[in-house]
């Protein structure tokens, strides 16, 4: 605390010409700086538009599985930077856990998933950018093009079904898509993962 307090005032020995620390002078300079800088710090309009538009992506008809582990962040910087280790994402809600690995292959990227407890469910990949109708490649291999009941700019881009062990594979669009995976259970209930860029 002492250090912080001392740090608040310039060391008088360092440059005597500054005179004693005067907070009012700081506020004056800050106000002047704010007048010059504030307009320049305004985010581009499209950034704010996208933020507003994202409200249409609210998931109201499924339970949201939040991201509880991302190897990019949680495995530590060394592992995260190692291109040899795949990215692992874990999403959880209530008793359901969805673990996914991003598999990079020359033929395209895929999501390898595992639902726990294991269940045969319909899985659908959703991708797209907020505020635009744009989606990544709709080419989905063995999957099928999903329905477009999602929010503005969001389009279901692949669908599949998990095997009895709860494993599934979904093709990923090119680039760095923002995706979520929706799992629909036999009783009609659904769990959807948080969106994440992969």
């Amino acid at each position: 605390m002492d250090e912080e307090l001392n740090g608040a005032a310039p060391d008088p020995g360092e440059d005597a010409d500054d005179g004693p620390y005067d907070e009012a002078v700081d506020h004056e300079l800050l106000a002047e700086l704010a007048a010059v800088m504030r307009p320049r710090l305004e985010p581009p309009p499209q950034v704010l538009d996208a933020a507003r538009q994202s409200f249409t992506w609210r998931t109201v008809d499924a339970e949201l599985a939040t991201l509880t582990h991302d190897s990019l962040i949680d495995a530590g910087p060394v592992l995260a930077r190692s291109s040899g280790s795949p990215r692992i994402l874990t999403f959880e809600v209530a008793a359901v856990q969805i673990e996914m690995e991003v598999e990079a292959a020359t033929s395209g990227h895929r999501l390898l998933g595992q639902i726990t407890p294991p269940a045969e469910v319909d899985v659908a990949l959703r991708s797209g950018e907020v505020g635009s109708g744009e989606v990544g490649s709709g080419e989905v291999g063995s999957g099928e093009v999903g329905s477009g009941e999602a929010g503005d700019g969001e389009v279901g881009s692949a669908a599949a079904r998990s095997d009895p062990l709860g494993r599934f594979v979904l093709p990923l669009p090119d680039g760095r898509p923002l995706v979520s995976v929706r799992c629909t259970f036999a009783d009609g209930s659904a769990v959807e993962t948080a969106r994440v860029r992969v």
Partner: protein
Amino acid sequence: MIAHSCVTVVAPRHARSDRRWAGRVDQSEVADTVRRAAAGDRGAWDAIVEGFGAMVWAVACGYRLGPVDAAEVSQTTWLRLLEHLDRIREPERLGGWLATTARHESLRLLRLRGREIVTDDETRFDHGPSYEPTPEDLLVDRDRDRALWEVFARLPPRCRTLLELVIIVAPPYAEIAAALDMPIGSIGPTRARCLKLLRRMLATGGVTDVAEGR
């Protein structure tokens, strides 16, 4: 360095001066707005974006992200809020939550791009070179403004980011502490040091150079 600053070099013509900057929204009002947005009130959501959009953007820009990446971080941060609207434990501290989330999402994106910065904090906030004045900047007719802008651009990156956030949010700067991952108690002293540096640079360089350049 690939990174470019996403600070607008040219001030927009129609910059708004009546914006309710992050932190200037009454705290009880924030909590209520979060609750209304969680209940589906789109106007409440827009008000949150209006209040905190610039702060989220500034945090992303401070992490050496260019405009495209910063836009992605901003978008992901807002989606994260959307996902957590009804489960934020202390909605009155929304600003800090958003700043922390923007910091995490910046880090995630940096790592996703495989260019995570592992050196010290000073370089972590390098804005890159785009503080160069543009022809439009040279038309700014107020010498003092121009000098201030030019000198500000030469400040160490961490000073720039901190002062940008100080301009955008109000005391007690919980958002800044969250965004820069530093103790709230050291924000004031750091701010004072950065302003002192700025003042000294103005006295020795900025104004004089501008005057002589005429």
